[in-house]
Protein backbone atom coordinates (compact mmCIF):
# COMPACT_ATOMS: atom_id res chain seq x y z
CA UNK A 1 0.00 0.00 0.00
CA UNK A 2 1.13 3.56 -0.54
CA UNK A 3 2.55 5.58 2.33
CA UNK A 4 -0.43 7.90 2.06
CA UNK A 5 -2.86 5.02 2.40
CA UNK A 6 -0.87 3.56 5.25
CA UNK A 7 -1.00 6.89 7.04
CA UNK A 8 -4.77 7.05 6.49
CA UNK A 9 -5.26 3.60 7.95
CA UNK A 10 -3.01 4.38 10.88
CA UNK A 11 -5.01 7.52 11.47
CA UNK A 12 -8.18 5.41 11.46
CA UNK A 13 -6.59 3.00 13.93
CA UNK A 14 -5.95 5.90 16.30
CA UNK A 15 -9.46 7.24 15.78
CA UNK A 16 -10.72 3.76 16.70
CA UNK A 17 -8.60 3.96 19.85
CA UNK A 18 -9.97 7.36 20.78
CA UNK A 19 -13.56 6.30 20.26
CA UNK A 20 -13.08 3.01 22.10
CA UNK A 21 -11.53 4.71 25.14
CA UNK A 22 -14.21 7.42 25.05
CA UNK A 23 -16.92 4.77 24.98
CA UNK A 24 -15.41 2.92 27.93
CA UNK A 25 -14.98 6.19 29.78
CA UNK A 26 -18.62 7.13 29.13
CA UNK A 27 -19.77 3.73 30.31
CA UNK A 28 -17.40 3.83 33.28
CA UNK A 29 -17.02 0.16 32.43
CA UNK A 30 -15.61 -2.05 29.69
CA UNK A 31 -12.39 -3.44 28.25
CA UNK A 32 -9.93 -0.89 26.90
CA UNK A 33 -6.68 -2.90 26.87
CA UNK A 34 -7.68 -5.55 24.36
CA UNK A 35 -9.57 -3.01 22.25
CA UNK A 36 -6.46 -0.87 21.85
CA UNK A 37 -4.29 -3.84 20.90
CA UNK A 38 -6.36 -4.72 17.82
CA UNK A 39 -6.98 -1.25 16.35
CA UNK A 40 -4.70 -1.61 13.28
CA UNK A 41 -6.19 -5.03 12.46
CA UNK A 42 -9.72 -3.62 12.69
CA UNK A 43 -8.76 -0.58 10.62
CA UNK A 44 -7.22 -2.76 7.92
CA UNK A 45 -10.10 -5.24 7.79
CA UNK A 46 -12.97 -2.72 7.85
CA UNK A 47 -11.39 0.08 5.80
CA UNK A 48 -9.23 -1.81 3.34
CA UNK A 49 -10.00 -5.48 3.07
CA UNK A 50 -13.56 -6.54 3.78
CA UNK A 51 -16.44 -6.31 1.36
CA UNK A 52 -19.08 -4.73 3.62
CA UNK A 53 -21.73 -2.10 3.08
CA UNK A 54 -22.93 0.03 6.00
CA UNK A 55 -26.10 0.78 4.05
CA UNK A 56 -26.83 -2.95 3.76
CA UNK A 57 -25.18 -4.60 6.76
CA UNK A 58 -26.72 -8.02 6.08
CA UNK A 59 -26.01 -8.22 2.37
CA UNK A 60 -25.56 -11.85 1.45
CA UNK A 61 -22.15 -11.71 -0.20
CA UNK A 62 -20.41 -9.63 2.46
CA UNK A 63 -17.25 -10.78 4.15
CA UNK A 64 -17.90 -11.80 7.75
CA UNK A 65 -16.06 -10.79 10.88
CA UNK A 66 -16.33 -12.57 14.22
CA UNK A 67 -14.78 -10.99 17.29
CA UNK A 68 -14.11 -14.20 19.18
CA UNK A 69 -12.55 -12.17 22.00
CA UNK A 70 -15.89 -10.41 22.37
CA UNK A 71 -14.82 -8.26 25.30
CA UNK A 72 -12.93 -6.06 22.82
CA UNK A 73 -16.37 -4.82 21.75
CA UNK A 74 -15.49 -1.13 22.29
CA UNK A 75 -12.81 -1.43 19.61
CA UNK A 76 -15.12 -3.21 17.18
CA UNK A 77 -18.01 -0.81 17.82
CA UNK A 78 -15.67 2.14 17.21
CA UNK A 79 -14.55 0.62 13.89
CA UNK A 80 -18.15 -0.02 12.84
CA UNK A 81 -19.27 3.48 13.79
CA UNK A 82 -16.35 5.12 11.98
CA UNK A 83 -17.12 2.93 8.95
CA UNK A 84 -20.68 4.28 8.99
CA UNK A 85 -22.72 1.38 10.38
CA UNK A 86 -24.18 3.66 13.05
CA UNK A 87 -23.51 7.19 14.32
CA UNK A 88 -20.26 7.68 16.23
CA UNK A 89 -22.28 9.55 18.84
CA UNK A 90 -24.01 6.27 19.77
CA UNK A 91 -20.73 4.90 21.10
CA UNK A 92 -21.26 6.97 24.24
CA UNK A 93 -24.24 4.76 25.03
CA UNK A 94 -21.98 1.72 25.43
CA UNK A 95 -23.24 -0.61 28.17
CA UNK A 96 -26.17 1.68 29.03
CA UNK A 97 -29.67 0.32 29.41
CA UNK A 98 -31.15 2.49 26.66
CA UNK A 99 -28.48 1.63 24.09
CA UNK A 100 -28.17 -1.30 21.69
CA UNK A 101 -24.43 -1.40 22.39
CA UNK A 102 -24.26 -4.35 24.75
CA UNK A 103 -21.15 -5.08 26.79
CA UNK A 104 -20.36 -7.82 24.29
CA UNK A 105 -21.27 -7.95 20.57
CA UNK A 106 -24.96 -8.63 19.86
CA UNK A 107 -25.77 -9.57 16.26
CA UNK A 108 -29.51 -9.18 16.77
CA UNK A 109 -29.47 -5.48 17.44
CA UNK A 110 -26.18 -3.91 16.39
CA UNK A 111 -25.71 -3.11 12.69
CA UNK A 112 -22.58 -4.75 11.30
CA UNK A 113 -22.17 -7.42 13.97
CA UNK A 114 -22.11 -10.82 12.27
CA UNK A 115 -22.07 -12.99 15.40
CA UNK A 116 -22.92 -12.52 19.06
CA UNK A 117 -19.82 -13.31 21.07
CA UNK A 118 -18.38 -12.78 24.50
CA UNK A 119 -18.20 -16.27 25.87
CA UNK A 120 -14.62 -17.18 25.00
CA UNK A 121 -13.89 -20.02 22.62
CA UNK A 122 -17.22 -19.76 20.80
CA UNK A 123 -16.55 -17.16 18.14
CA UNK A 124 -13.93 -19.17 16.30
CA UNK A 125 -16.41 -22.05 16.00
CA UNK A 126 -19.06 -19.73 14.58
CA UNK A 127 -16.48 -18.42 12.12
CA UNK A 128 -15.84 -22.03 11.07
CA UNK A 129 -19.57 -22.57 10.52
CA UNK A 130 -19.74 -19.45 8.35
CA UNK A 131 -16.69 -20.42 6.33
CA UNK A 132 -18.08 -23.91 5.81
CA UNK A 133 -21.41 -22.40 4.69
CA UNK A 134 -19.67 -20.19 2.13
CA UNK A 135 -17.85 -23.20 0.71
CA UNK A 136 -20.96 -25.38 0.76
CA UNK A 137 -22.99 -22.68 -1.00
CA UNK A 138 -20.12 -22.05 -3.44
CA UNK A 139 -19.88 -18.41 -2.47
CA UNK A 140 -16.61 -16.55 -2.40
CA UNK A 141 -16.97 -14.35 0.65
CA UNK A 142 -14.41 -14.81 3.40
CA UNK A 143 -14.49 -14.99 7.18
CA UNK A 144 -12.11 -13.08 9.45
CA UNK A 145 -11.88 -13.46 13.19
CA UNK A 146 -9.82 -12.20 16.11
CA UNK A 147 -9.09 -14.68 18.89
CA UNK A 148 -7.48 -13.72 22.18
CA UNK A 149 -4.21 -15.23 23.36
CA UNK A 150 -5.75 -16.02 26.73
CA UNK A 151 -8.80 -17.28 24.87
CA UNK A 152 -6.64 -19.96 23.29
CA UNK A 153 -6.63 -21.66 26.70
CA UNK A 154 -10.23 -22.66 25.96
CA UNK A 155 -10.40 -26.23 24.68
CA UNK A 156 -13.05 -25.28 22.15
CA UNK A 157 -10.52 -23.14 20.26
CA UNK A 158 -8.70 -26.38 19.46
CA UNK A 159 -11.89 -28.23 18.57
CA UNK A 160 -12.49 -25.45 16.07
CA UNK A 161 -8.86 -25.51 14.90
CA UNK A 162 -9.21 -29.22 14.15
CA UNK A 163 -12.52 -28.64 12.38
CA UNK A 164 -11.24 -25.79 10.19
CA UNK A 165 -8.25 -27.80 8.99
CA UNK A 166 -10.37 -30.94 8.48
CA UNK A 167 -12.80 -29.08 6.23
CA UNK A 168 -9.93 -27.19 4.52
CA UNK A 169 -11.47 -23.82 5.33
CA UNK A 170 -9.04 -21.69 3.34
CA UNK A 171 -11.64 -18.92 3.30
CA UNK A 172 -11.13 -18.50 7.05
CA UNK A 173 -8.32 -16.56 8.70
CA UNK A 174 -7.96 -15.69 12.35
CA UNK A 175 -5.75 -13.15 14.03
CA UNK A 176 -4.51 -14.22 17.46
CA UNK A 177 -4.12 -11.05 19.47
CA UNK A 178 -0.88 -11.96 21.20
CA UNK A 179 -0.79 -9.17 23.77
CA UNK A 180 0.56 -11.46 26.47
CA UNK A 181 -1.82 -10.45 29.25
CA UNK A 182 -5.05 -11.85 30.63
CA UNK A 183 -7.14 -11.00 33.67
CA UNK A 184 -5.06 -12.87 36.23
CA UNK A 185 -1.72 -11.75 34.84
CA UNK A 186 0.77 -12.63 32.10
CA UNK A 187 -0.64 -15.33 29.83
CA UNK A 188 2.61 -17.27 30.20
CA UNK A 189 2.11 -17.41 33.97
CA UNK A 190 -1.64 -18.03 34.15
CA UNK A 191 -1.75 -20.99 31.74
CA UNK A 192 0.88 -20.91 29.09
CA UNK A 193 -0.60 -21.73 25.68
CA UNK A 194 2.69 -21.34 23.78
CA UNK A 195 3.99 -22.15 21.28
CA UNK A 196 0.82 -21.02 19.51
CA UNK A 197 2.44 -20.93 16.08
CA UNK A 198 3.62 -24.53 16.35
CA UNK A 199 0.30 -25.63 17.80
CA UNK A 200 -1.73 -24.16 14.94
CA UNK A 201 0.77 -25.56 12.45
CA UNK A 202 0.44 -28.98 14.05
CA UNK A 203 -3.33 -28.67 13.73
CA UNK A 204 -2.92 -28.20 9.99
CA UNK A 205 -3.06 -24.43 9.66
CA UNK A 206 -1.03 -22.00 7.64
CA UNK A 207 0.67 -19.84 10.28
CA UNK A 208 2.06 -16.32 9.90
CA UNK A 209 3.64 -14.29 12.71
CA UNK A 210 3.48 -10.51 12.52
CA UNK A 211 3.63 -7.28 14.50
CA UNK A 212 -0.05 -6.42 15.11
CA UNK A 213 0.61 -2.69 14.76
CA UNK A 214 2.48 -2.87 11.44
CA UNK A 215 0.03 -2.26 8.60
CA UNK A 216 2.43 -3.52 5.94
CA UNK A 217 2.77 -6.77 7.87
CA UNK A 218 -1.01 -7.02 8.28
CA UNK A 219 -1.48 -6.49 4.56
CA UNK A 220 1.16 -9.07 3.68
CA UNK A 221 -0.39 -11.61 6.05
CA UNK A 222 -3.90 -11.00 4.70
CA UNK A 223 -2.63 -11.39 1.15
CA UNK A 224 -0.85 -14.62 2.03
CA UNK A 225 -3.95 -15.92 3.82
CA UNK A 226 -6.04 -15.30 0.70
CA UNK A 227 -3.48 -16.99 -1.53
CA UNK A 228 -3.19 -20.06 0.65
CA UNK A 229 -5.31 -22.93 -0.61
CA UNK A 230 -6.55 -25.96 1.29
CA UNK A 231 -5.92 -24.74 4.83
CA UNK A 232 -7.06 -21.99 7.16
CA UNK A 233 -4.64 -19.29 8.25
CA UNK A 234 -3.69 -18.20 11.76
CA UNK A 235 -1.96 -14.84 11.98
CA UNK A 236 -0.18 -14.64 15.32
CA UNK A 237 -0.16 -10.90 15.87
CA UNK A 238 2.22 -9.71 18.57
CA UNK A 239 0.59 -6.67 20.07
CA UNK A 240 0.85 -4.24 22.94
CA UNK A 241 -2.13 -4.41 25.23
CA UNK A 242 -3.37 -0.88 25.84
CA UNK A 243 -1.40 0.35 22.77
CA UNK A 244 -1.33 4.13 22.39
CA UNK A 245 -2.31 5.12 25.92
CA UNK A 246 0.88 5.56 27.91
CA UNK A 247 -0.27 4.29 31.27
CA UNK A 248 -2.34 1.43 29.85
CA UNK A 249 0.40 -0.16 27.74
CA UNK A 250 1.36 -3.64 28.95
CA UNK A 251 -0.54 -3.01 32.17
CA UNK A 252 -2.84 -5.90 33.07
CA UNK A 253 -5.11 -3.78 35.27
CA UNK A 254 -6.43 -2.09 32.10
CA UNK A 255 -7.87 -5.33 30.78
CA UNK A 256 -11.30 -4.52 32.09
CA UNK A 257 -11.40 -1.17 33.85
CA UNK A 258 -12.44 2.33 32.79
CA UNK A 259 -10.35 5.46 33.09
CA UNK A 260 -11.34 8.19 35.54
CA UNK A 261 -11.70 11.72 34.22
CA UNK A 262 -8.06 12.77 34.62
CA UNK A 263 -6.88 9.52 33.16
CA UNK A 264 -9.25 10.00 30.27
CA UNK A 265 -7.72 13.39 29.52
CA UNK A 266 -4.25 11.84 29.47
CA UNK A 267 -5.47 9.07 27.16
CA UNK A 268 -6.92 11.58 24.72
CA UNK A 269 -3.79 13.70 24.76
CA UNK A 270 -1.60 10.59 24.19
CA UNK A 271 -3.73 9.54 21.26
CA UNK A 272 -4.00 13.07 19.84
CA UNK A 273 -0.23 13.38 20.04
CA UNK A 274 0.13 10.14 18.07
CA UNK A 275 -2.31 11.47 15.48
CA UNK A 276 -0.46 14.77 15.28
CA UNK A 277 2.78 12.92 14.66
CA UNK A 278 1.15 11.28 11.65
CA UNK A 279 0.70 14.73 10.20
Amino acid sequence: MTDTRKKELLRIAYEIRKEAVTAVYSAASGHPGGSLSIAEILAYLYFEEMNVDPADPKKADRDRFVLSKGHAAPGLYAALALRGFFPVEELKGLRQIDSVLQGHPDMKHIPGIDMSTGSLGLGISAACGMALSAKYQKQDWRVWSIVGDGESEEGQVWEAAMFAAHYKLDNLAIFVDWNGLQIDGPVAEVMNPTPLDEKFRAFGWNVISIDAHDLDAIEAAVTLAKETKGKPTAIIAKSVKGKGVSYMENEVSWHGSAPKSEQYEIAMSDLDAALAKLG
Binding site: A60, R64, V66, D106, M107, K108, D114, M115, S116, G118, S119, G121, L122, S125, A126, A127, C128, G129, M130, A131, L132, S133, A134, Y136, Q137, G155, Q156, E159, A160, M162, F163, H166, Y167
Partner: protein, 314 residues
Protein backbone atom coordinates in the same frame (compact mmCIF):
# COMPACT_ATOMS: atom_id res chain seq x y z
CA UNK B 1 -50.75 -52.36 18.02
CA UNK B 2 -48.67 -51.74 14.92
CA UNK B 3 -44.91 -52.08 14.63
CA UNK B 4 -42.64 -50.50 17.18
CA UNK B 5 -40.28 -47.79 15.92
CA UNK B 6 -37.83 -45.71 17.94
CA UNK B 7 -38.39 -41.98 17.49
CA UNK B 8 -34.68 -41.60 16.58
CA UNK B 9 -35.32 -43.88 13.58
CA UNK B 10 -38.20 -41.65 12.53
CA UNK B 11 -35.97 -38.60 13.03
CA UNK B 12 -33.28 -39.92 10.67
CA UNK B 13 -35.85 -40.99 8.11
CA UNK B 14 -37.58 -37.60 8.29
CA UNK B 15 -34.30 -35.76 7.69
CA UNK B 16 -33.65 -37.91 4.63
CA UNK B 17 -37.21 -37.38 3.40
CA UNK B 18 -37.34 -33.62 3.94
CA UNK B 19 -33.84 -33.12 2.59
CA UNK B 20 -35.43 -33.41 -0.86
CA UNK B 21 -37.98 -30.70 -0.22
CA UNK B 22 -35.90 -28.23 1.79
CA UNK B 23 -32.58 -27.51 0.12
CA UNK B 24 -31.26 -25.29 2.92
CA UNK B 25 -31.35 -28.26 5.31
CA UNK B 26 -27.92 -29.57 6.36
CA UNK B 27 -27.07 -32.04 9.10
CA UNK B 28 -24.24 -32.11 11.62
CA UNK B 29 -23.36 -34.90 13.98
CA UNK B 30 -20.65 -35.59 16.54
CA UNK B 31 -19.56 -39.11 15.64
CA UNK B 32 -22.92 -40.63 16.50
CA UNK B 33 -24.62 -40.71 13.11
CA UNK B 34 -25.09 -44.46 13.35
CA UNK B 35 -26.88 -44.07 16.68
CA UNK B 36 -28.76 -40.78 16.24
CA UNK B 37 -29.80 -42.07 12.79
CA UNK B 38 -28.64 -38.96 10.99
CA UNK B 39 -26.67 -41.60 9.09
CA UNK B 40 -29.86 -42.16 7.06
CA UNK B 41 -29.56 -38.58 5.81
CA UNK B 42 -25.78 -38.88 5.35
CA UNK B 43 -26.26 -41.86 3.06
CA UNK B 44 -28.67 -39.99 0.84
CA UNK B 45 -27.03 -36.55 0.96
CA UNK B 46 -23.34 -37.08 1.72
CA UNK B 47 -22.46 -33.52 0.66
CA UNK B 48 -24.96 -32.01 3.05
CA UNK B 49 -23.78 -33.96 6.07
CA UNK B 50 -20.90 -32.67 8.21
CA UNK B 51 -19.36 -34.82 10.87
CA UNK B 52 -17.87 -32.68 13.62
CA UNK B 53 -16.15 -35.48 15.46
CA UNK B 54 -16.46 -35.91 19.20
CA UNK B 55 -16.62 -32.19 19.91
CA UNK B 56 -20.19 -31.23 20.71
CA UNK B 57 -19.46 -27.70 21.90
CA UNK B 58 -17.78 -26.82 18.63
CA UNK B 59 -20.56 -28.52 16.66
CA UNK B 60 -23.29 -26.38 18.24
CA UNK B 61 -21.49 -23.15 17.46
CA UNK B 62 -20.56 -24.28 13.94
CA UNK B 63 -24.29 -24.88 13.49
CA UNK B 64 -24.93 -21.35 14.76
CA UNK B 65 -22.50 -19.97 12.17
CA UNK B 66 -24.24 -21.95 9.44
CA UNK B 67 -27.65 -20.69 10.52
CA UNK B 68 -26.26 -17.16 10.50
CA UNK B 69 -25.26 -17.83 6.89
CA UNK B 70 -28.77 -18.79 5.80
CA UNK B 71 -28.75 -22.57 6.17
CA UNK B 72 -31.03 -24.71 8.35
CA UNK B 73 -28.64 -26.90 10.30
CA UNK B 74 -29.79 -29.87 12.33
CA UNK B 75 -27.16 -30.62 14.96
CA UNK B 76 -27.37 -34.05 16.53
CA UNK B 77 -25.88 -35.88 19.43
CA UNK B 78 -27.13 -37.72 22.47
CA UNK B 79 -29.28 -35.51 24.72
CA UNK B 80 -26.66 -35.70 27.44
CA UNK B 81 -24.07 -34.01 25.24
CA UNK B 82 -26.38 -31.73 23.26
CA UNK B 83 -28.23 -30.25 26.22
CA UNK B 84 -25.73 -31.07 28.94
CA UNK B 85 -22.16 -30.69 27.77
CA UNK B 86 -22.99 -28.08 25.15
CA UNK B 87 -25.51 -26.16 27.26
CA UNK B 88 -23.48 -22.99 27.35
CA UNK B 89 -22.79 -23.07 23.64
CA UNK B 90 -26.48 -23.60 22.93
CA UNK B 91 -27.42 -20.82 25.31
CA UNK B 92 -24.95 -18.20 24.13
CA UNK B 93 -24.42 -18.99 20.45
CA UNK B 94 -27.87 -20.31 19.46
CA UNK B 95 -30.38 -19.10 22.06
CA UNK B 96 -29.11 -15.58 22.66
CA UNK B 97 -28.89 -14.62 18.97
CA UNK B 98 -32.07 -16.67 18.31
CA UNK B 99 -30.43 -18.53 15.44
CA UNK B 100 -32.26 -21.01 13.26
CA UNK B 101 -30.55 -24.14 14.59
CA UNK B 102 -32.46 -27.38 15.15
CA UNK B 103 -31.01 -29.61 17.81
CA UNK B 104 -31.93 -33.25 17.34
CA UNK B 105 -31.06 -34.91 20.62
CA UNK B 106 -31.46 -38.65 20.79
CA UNK B 107 -30.99 -41.20 23.56
CA UNK B 108 -32.89 -39.07 26.03
CA UNK B 109 -34.21 -40.46 29.30
CA UNK B 110 -33.96 -43.72 31.16
CA UNK B 111 -34.88 -45.77 28.10
CA UNK B 112 -31.29 -45.53 26.87
CA UNK B 113 -31.04 -48.71 28.92
CA UNK B 114 -27.78 -50.58 29.26
CA UNK B 115 -25.38 -47.63 28.83
CA UNK B 116 -26.47 -46.35 32.23
CA UNK B 117 -26.42 -43.05 34.09
CA UNK B 118 -23.71 -41.17 32.17
CA UNK B 119 -25.78 -41.49 28.99
CA UNK B 120 -29.30 -41.28 30.41
CA UNK B 121 -30.08 -37.58 30.21
CA UNK B 122 -32.82 -36.61 32.65
CA UNK B 123 -32.10 -32.90 32.74
CA UNK B 124 -32.46 -31.67 29.17
CA UNK B 125 -35.99 -30.30 29.47
CA UNK B 126 -34.82 -28.29 32.46
CA UNK B 127 -31.74 -26.81 30.78
CA UNK B 128 -33.28 -26.21 27.35
CA UNK B 129 -36.56 -24.88 28.73
CA UNK B 130 -34.68 -22.23 30.68
CA UNK B 131 -33.25 -20.68 27.51
CA UNK B 132 -35.42 -17.76 26.34
CA UNK B 133 -37.02 -18.37 22.95
CA UNK B 134 -36.05 -22.04 22.73
CA UNK B 135 -38.77 -24.39 21.48
CA UNK B 136 -38.58 -27.72 23.33
CA UNK B 137 -40.35 -30.77 21.96
CA UNK B 138 -40.56 -34.53 22.30
CA UNK B 139 -42.63 -36.84 20.09
CA UNK B 140 -44.70 -39.74 21.41
CA UNK B 141 -44.19 -41.91 18.35
CA UNK B 142 -42.66 -42.13 14.89
CA UNK B 143 -45.53 -40.35 13.14
CA UNK B 144 -45.30 -37.41 15.50
CA UNK B 145 -41.51 -37.36 15.20
CA UNK B 146 -41.71 -37.02 11.43
CA UNK B 147 -44.27 -34.22 11.63
CA UNK B 148 -42.22 -32.47 14.33
CA UNK B 149 -39.13 -32.43 12.15
CA UNK B 150 -41.01 -30.75 9.32
CA UNK B 151 -42.60 -28.25 11.69
CA UNK B 152 -39.14 -27.42 13.02
CA UNK B 153 -37.81 -26.87 9.50
CA UNK B 154 -40.65 -24.46 8.74
CA UNK B 155 -40.30 -22.61 12.05
CA UNK B 156 -37.77 -19.78 12.11
CA UNK B 157 -35.79 -20.01 15.35
CA UNK B 158 -34.03 -22.44 17.64
CA UNK B 159 -35.65 -25.78 18.46
CA UNK B 160 -34.62 -28.60 20.75
CA UNK B 161 -36.11 -31.98 19.85
CA UNK B 162 -35.78 -34.97 22.12
CA UNK B 163 -35.88 -38.44 20.63
CA UNK B 164 -35.67 -41.89 22.18
CA UNK B 165 -33.43 -44.85 21.55
CA UNK B 166 -36.06 -47.44 22.45
CA UNK B 167 -38.62 -48.74 19.98
CA UNK B 168 -42.14 -47.63 20.93
CA UNK B 169 -45.59 -48.34 19.46
CA UNK B 170 -46.95 -46.14 16.71
CA UNK B 171 -49.93 -44.31 18.22
CA UNK B 172 -50.96 -42.07 15.35
CA UNK B 173 -52.19 -42.60 11.83
CA UNK B 174 -49.84 -40.81 9.45
CA UNK B 175 -52.60 -39.73 7.10
CA UNK B 176 -54.81 -38.19 9.75
CA UNK B 177 -52.20 -36.62 11.95
CA UNK B 178 -51.44 -32.92 12.05
CA UNK B 179 -48.81 -31.26 14.20
CA UNK B 180 -48.66 -27.71 15.49
CA UNK B 181 -45.82 -26.46 17.68
CA UNK B 182 -47.22 -25.57 21.10
CA UNK B 183 -50.56 -27.35 20.69
CA UNK B 184 -51.21 -30.34 22.92
CA UNK B 185 -53.32 -33.25 21.71
CA UNK B 186 -56.23 -34.72 23.67
CA UNK B 187 -55.75 -38.46 23.21
CA UNK B 188 -58.78 -39.56 25.24
CA UNK B 189 -61.36 -37.63 27.20
CA UNK B 190 -62.29 -37.89 30.85
CA UNK B 191 -63.67 -35.62 33.56
CA UNK B 192 -62.09 -36.79 36.83
CA UNK B 193 -58.39 -36.13 36.30
CA UNK B 194 -56.02 -35.17 33.50
CA UNK B 195 -52.87 -37.10 32.70
CA UNK B 196 -50.49 -34.84 30.80
CA UNK B 197 -47.76 -36.98 29.31
CA UNK B 198 -44.91 -36.58 26.87
CA UNK B 199 -42.83 -38.94 24.77
CA UNK B 200 -43.07 -42.64 25.45
CA UNK B 201 -45.02 -41.87 28.63
CA UNK B 202 -48.06 -41.09 26.48
CA UNK B 203 -48.47 -44.81 25.86
CA UNK B 204 -48.20 -45.44 29.61
CA UNK B 205 -50.75 -42.72 30.28
CA UNK B 206 -53.24 -44.35 27.93
CA UNK B 207 -52.70 -47.68 29.70
CA UNK B 208 -53.16 -45.95 33.07
CA UNK B 209 -56.44 -44.57 31.83
CA UNK B 210 -57.62 -48.15 31.24
CA UNK B 211 -56.58 -49.16 34.76
CA UNK B 212 -58.40 -46.18 36.23
CA UNK B 213 -61.53 -46.85 34.20
CA UNK B 214 -61.70 -50.24 35.90
CA UNK B 215 -61.97 -48.38 39.20
CA UNK B 216 -64.55 -45.91 37.96
CA UNK B 217 -62.18 -42.98 37.46
CA UNK B 218 -62.39 -41.27 34.10
CA UNK B 219 -59.03 -39.84 33.12
CA UNK B 220 -58.35 -37.45 30.29
CA UNK B 221 -55.04 -38.08 28.54
CA UNK B 222 -53.26 -35.23 26.80
CA UNK B 223 -50.08 -35.55 24.81
CA UNK B 224 -47.82 -32.59 25.43
CA UNK B 225 -45.32 -32.87 22.61
CA UNK B 226 -44.22 -29.26 23.08
CA UNK B 227 -42.83 -28.61 26.53
CA UNK B 228 -42.10 -25.02 25.55
CA UNK B 229 -44.05 -23.03 24.61
CA UNK B 230 -46.44 -25.02 26.78
CA UNK B 231 -50.07 -25.21 25.61
CA UNK B 232 -51.23 -23.25 28.63
CA UNK B 233 -54.70 -22.83 27.18
CA UNK B 234 -55.18 -26.60 27.09
CA UNK B 235 -53.56 -27.15 30.50
CA UNK B 236 -55.77 -24.51 32.14
CA UNK B 237 -58.84 -25.94 30.44
CA UNK B 238 -57.95 -29.38 31.81
CA UNK B 239 -57.37 -27.86 35.25
CA UNK B 240 -60.78 -26.22 35.15
CA UNK B 241 -62.64 -29.20 33.76
CA UNK B 242 -60.98 -32.10 35.62
CA UNK B 243 -59.72 -30.37 38.75
CA UNK B 244 -56.47 -32.35 39.05
CA UNK B 245 -53.48 -33.15 36.87
CA UNK B 246 -50.86 -35.86 36.82
CA UNK B 247 -47.81 -35.30 34.66
CA UNK B 248 -45.72 -38.12 33.23
CA UNK B 249 -42.28 -37.81 31.67
CA UNK B 250 -39.07 -39.73 31.28
CA UNK B 251 -37.08 -36.93 32.92
CA UNK B 252 -36.16 -35.77 36.38
CA UNK B 253 -39.39 -34.66 38.02
CA UNK B 254 -37.59 -31.41 38.72
CA UNK B 255 -37.51 -28.96 35.86
CA UNK B 256 -39.38 -30.77 33.11
CA UNK B 257 -43.00 -31.16 32.05
CA UNK B 258 -44.22 -31.51 35.65
CA UNK B 259 -42.59 -28.25 36.60
CA UNK B 260 -43.90 -26.52 33.49
CA UNK B 261 -47.47 -27.60 34.29
CA UNK B 262 -47.10 -26.45 37.91
CA UNK B 263 -45.81 -23.08 36.74
CA UNK B 264 -48.78 -22.81 34.39
CA UNK B 265 -51.57 -23.64 36.83
CA UNK B 266 -50.16 -22.14 40.03
CA UNK B 267 -50.82 -18.57 39.07
CA UNK B 268 -53.93 -19.01 36.97
CA UNK B 269 -55.94 -22.04 38.08
CA UNK B 270 -54.35 -23.79 41.06
CA UNK B 271 -55.27 -27.47 41.17
CA UNK B 272 -53.36 -30.46 42.57
CA UNK B 273 -50.53 -31.48 40.23
CA UNK B 274 -48.72 -34.74 40.94
CA UNK B 275 -45.60 -35.48 38.96
CA UNK B 276 -44.49 -38.85 37.64
CA UNK B 277 -40.86 -38.83 36.57
CA UNK B 278 -37.47 -39.89 37.82
CA UNK B 279 -37.49 -38.70 41.39
CA UNK B 280 -34.29 -36.68 41.52
CA UNK B 281 -31.86 -39.51 41.01
CA UNK B 282 -29.45 -40.70 38.34
CA UNK B 283 -30.24 -43.60 36.09
CA UNK B 284 -28.58 -47.01 36.03
CA UNK B 285 -27.87 -49.80 33.58
CA UNK B 286 -30.49 -52.37 32.74
CA UNK B 287 -33.00 -53.54 30.19
CA UNK B 288 -35.62 -50.94 29.49
CA UNK B 289 -38.79 -52.56 30.92
CA UNK B 290 -37.28 -53.31 34.34
CA UNK B 291 -35.69 -49.85 34.37
CA UNK B 292 -39.04 -48.20 33.73
CA UNK B 293 -40.45 -50.31 36.55
CA UNK B 294 -37.53 -49.41 38.85
CA UNK B 295 -38.05 -45.69 38.36
CA UNK B 296 -41.85 -45.82 38.48
CA UNK B 297 -42.32 -44.81 34.86
CA UNK B 298 -45.27 -47.15 34.43
CA UNK B 299 -48.99 -47.11 33.83
CA UNK B 300 -49.55 -48.54 37.31
CA UNK B 301 -47.60 -45.74 38.97
CA UNK B 302 -49.39 -43.09 36.92
CA UNK B 303 -52.73 -44.64 37.95
CA UNK B 304 -51.69 -44.54 41.62
CA UNK B 305 -50.77 -40.88 41.34
CA UNK B 306 -54.05 -40.17 39.54
CA UNK B 307 -56.02 -41.67 42.42
CA UNK B 308 -54.06 -39.55 44.91
CA UNK B 309 -54.71 -36.48 42.78
CA UNK B 310 -58.43 -37.19 42.70
CA UNK B 311 -58.44 -37.48 46.50
CA UNK B 312 -56.67 -34.14 46.81
CA UNK B 313 -59.53 -32.49 44.98
CA UNK B 314 -61.84 -33.05 47.93
Amino acid sequence: MADKIATREAYGAALAEFGEKYDRLVVLDADLAAATKTGTFKKKFPNRFFDCGIAEGNMMVVAAGMAASGLIPFASSFAMFAAGRAFEQVRNAIGYPHLNVKIGATHAGISVGEDGATHQCLEDFATMRSIPGMVVMQPADAVEARAMVEAAIKYEGPCYMRFGRYAVPVLFDKDNYSFAIGKGIVMADGADVTIAATGLMVEQALAARELLAGEGILARVVNIHTIKPLDSELILKCAAETGAIVTAEEHNFIGGLGSAVCECVSGARPVPVLRVGVEDSFGRSGKVPPLMEYYGLTAAHIAEKAKEAVKLKK
